[in-house]
C-alpha cells in the first residue's frame, strides 16, 4: 500500500490476521458440528486437519477427517435397532443415491421393506434393497446375528428363514469382511463434550490474539496516516 506518494506500508499483517480469524471461526464451526452431534445416533466426530501454509491459504488450508472410533453403544431393546461394533457403515439407497451411515435405526413398512427412519432402503451385501419375505407378527421375529445375517421367523414352519446379509462396508464402499453387528443397540456419537469445549479454548484465544494484532496494526496504520500526513 502506498501512502502519500512514497511512504510504503506493509499491509500483509492486516490480511494475515483476518485470514487467521477466519480459520479460527471455521474450526469453531467444526467443534459446533461435533457438539450438535453429541447425542445423535451414528454421528462420527469430525476433526480438522490444518495443513502447512494455512497462514497464506486461509480457510482453504483446512480439510476435515472423520474420527472412526466406535461410539457409545446403548441397548434399546428394539430388534430393528442395529449398531456396528466395528468400523464400517450401512448402505442405504434413496432417490438421492446411495449413502453410507452408521445410524442403524431401521423400520419395516407394510410390504416388508427394511427402511431407515428417512425412508431410504437398506441395502444387503450384494447391493440390493432388503425386503422381508415374511412379515413377522411382531418385531421379535426379526433376528440379526453378529455377522449381519438377517433372518425372519416363519410361523407356519416354526423356523428362522434367512433373508439377506446386511451390507456393512468401509468408507470406500467395499464390503467389510468381519463386521460385528449388534441387534437391539443404538450407537451414539463418539464425541465427548468436555474434549470439544477444552479444544475450543485455544482456538478462541487464538482468535482474540489475532484480533488484537489486527487492532494494533490498524492503529499503526492510522498513526502513520495522521502523523506523516500532517503538514507541521
Amino acid at each position: 500500500m502506498k501512502i502519500n506518494a512514497g511512504i510504503r506500508y506493509i499491509d500483509n499483517g492486516l490480511v494475515a490476521s483476518l485470514k487467521a480469524m477466519q480459520v479460527q471461526s471455521t474450526l469453531i464451526n467444526l467443534s459446533n458440528d461435533n457438539v450438535t452431534g453429541f447425542d445423535k445416533v451414528g454421528y462420527q466426530r469430525k476433526e480438522a486437519v490444518v495443513s502447512s501454509f494455512t497462514e497464506y491459504l486461509g480457510v482453504n488450508g483446512i480439510s476435515t477427517t472423520v474420527d472412526d472410533k466406535v461410539g457409545r453403544l446403548a441397548a434399546t431393546g428394539n430388534p430393528l435397532d442395529l449398531a456396528i461394533a466395528t468400523q464400517g457403515y450401512f448402505q442405504t439407497r434413496s432417490a438421492d443415491g446411495i449413502k453410507l451411515t452408521r445410524d442403524g435405526r431401521f423400520k419395516l413398512d407394510k410390504s416388508g421393506n427394511l427402511l431407515t427412519l428417512e425412508d431410504s432402503k437398506v441395502l444387503a451385501d450384494n447391493g440390493t434393497p432388503i425386503k422381508l419375505s415374511i412379515i413377522p407378527e411382531n418385531l421379535g421375529g426379526v433376528v440379526v446375528n453378529s455377522k449381519g445375517a438377517l433372518s425372519v421367523f416363519n410361523k407356519s414352519t416354526n423356523k428362522l428363514e434367512h433373508v439377506a446379509n446386511i451390507g456393512v462396508v468401509d468408507s470406500n464402499g467395499i464390503v467389510a469382511m468381519n463386521p460385528e453387528v449388534k441387534q437391539g443397540y443404538n450407537e451414539y456419537s463418539n464425541v465427548s463434550l468436555e474434549r470439544e469445549f477444552l479444544g475450543m479454548m485455544p482456538v478462541i484465544r487464538n482468535f482474540d490474539a489475532n484480533r488484537q494484532m489486527f487492532l494494533i496494526e490498524s492503529s499503526n496504520l492510522s498513526k502513520a496516516i495522521s502523523q506523516l500526513g500532517s503538514s507541521s
Binding site: I28, V35, T36, K40, V59, N78, K110, L117, E196, F214
Partner: protein
C-alpha cells in the same frame, strides 16, 4: 454454512429440537399410569450438512400386566389391538382394556365406544367370563350353564408403526399401517387384569439427561460464537 451466523443457527436449531424431545418424554411420563399406553420416542436425525430433522417412533413392547379383579378389565398379553366403534360409527383401535357396561347394556370403553361389533351383557348376569381367545360367556346363576354372548375381536396390522394417535388412548389405521386383519386362535386375552403403560422411567431419565447436556452445550456454543461475532463486528480501533 460455515460463517458465524450459520453456527448460531445450528446451535439454536439443536436446542429447539431438544426441547421438542423433552416434550415427548414428558408425554411418556404423564401417561405412566395410562393403561395400555405405548411410549413414543422422538428420534433425531442429523444429515451430512448439519440439518437436523426428527421422527416419532412408537414402541410397541408389551407393558406389564396387573391384576385388578374387575371382570370387565382385560389385558392383551401379546400382539394386537381391540377394534372399538364410536357412536358415529368410526372404528379405532386400542390396547386399553378397562371396559365397562354402558347404560343400554353393551360392553364399552371408558369413553363409551362399543367393543368390537357390540357385545350385549345380559342384565341379570351372575358371572361374566372372558376366555383367553376373547370369547365372552355369561352365567345367569351359579347353576346355570355358560352361554356365549359374543367375542372380543383382536386385530393386527402389517406395520403397527404406521398407526397414528386417535381419540383418547386409541389408534387410527392409515395407508402406511395396512388393513386390520383378525387374529385367529390366539390366547392373548387375560381377564381381571390390565396392561400398564410400557414407559421405561430409567430410559426416559437417561434420555432426558442426554438431551439436557446437548441443549446446555449448544446454548454455551451460541454464547461463545456470539462473543466472537461481536468481536468480529467491532473490528475497529477501540
Amino acid at each position: 454454512m460455515n460463517n458465524l451466523q450459520g453456527i448460531i443457527r445450528k446451535s439454536i436449531n439443536n436446542t429447539t429440537t431438544q426441547f421438542d424431545k423433552m416434550g415427548y418424554i414428558a408425554n411418556n411420563f404423564a401417561n405412566y399410569s395410562t393403561t395400555g399406553y405405548k411410549s413414543v420416542r422422538f428420534e433425531q436425525m442429523l444429515s451430512e450438512d448439519g440439518y437436523l430433522t426428527g421422527a416419532v417412533r412408537t414402541d410397541y413392547k408389551q407393558g406389564s400386566v396387573q391384576l385388578t379383579g374387575n371382570p370387565y378389565d382385560i389385558a392383551i398379553k401379546g400382539d394386537g389391538f381391540i377394534p372399538v366403534v364410536s357412536q358415529t360409527g368410526e372404528v379405532q383401535y386400542t390396547r386399553d382394556g378397562s371396559f365397562k357396561v354402558s347404560k343400554d347394556g353393551y360392553l364399552t370403553t371408558n369413553d363409551d365406544w362399543l367393543v368390537g361389533g357390540g357385545i350385549k351383557i345380559p342384565s341379570n348376569v351372575y358371572k361374566l367370563t372372558i376366555k383367553s381367545d376373547g370369547t365372552v360367556t355369561s352365567m345367569d346363576s351359579s347353576q346355570s350353564p355358560e352361554t356365549k354372548i359374543g367375542t372380543i375381536p383382536l386385530v393386527q396390522f402389517k406395520n403397527s408403526e404406521g398407526l397414528v394417535q386417535g381419540d383418547n388412548n386409541k389408534l387410527k389405521a392409515t395407508d402406511e399401517s395396512g388393513e386390520a386383519s383378525l387374529i385367529k386362535n390366539h390366547d392373548y386375552i387375560a381377564q381381571n387384569s390390565l396392561e400398564m403403560s410400557n414407559t421405561n422411567i430409567y430410559d426416559s431419565v437417561s434420555d432426558m439427561l442426554r438431551l439436557n447436556a446437548s441443549m446446555i452445550a449448544s446454548l454455551r456454543m451460541a454464547k461463545i460464537v456470539d462473543d466472537m461475532y461481536n468481536k468480529s463486528v467491532n473490528l475497529r480501533q477501540s
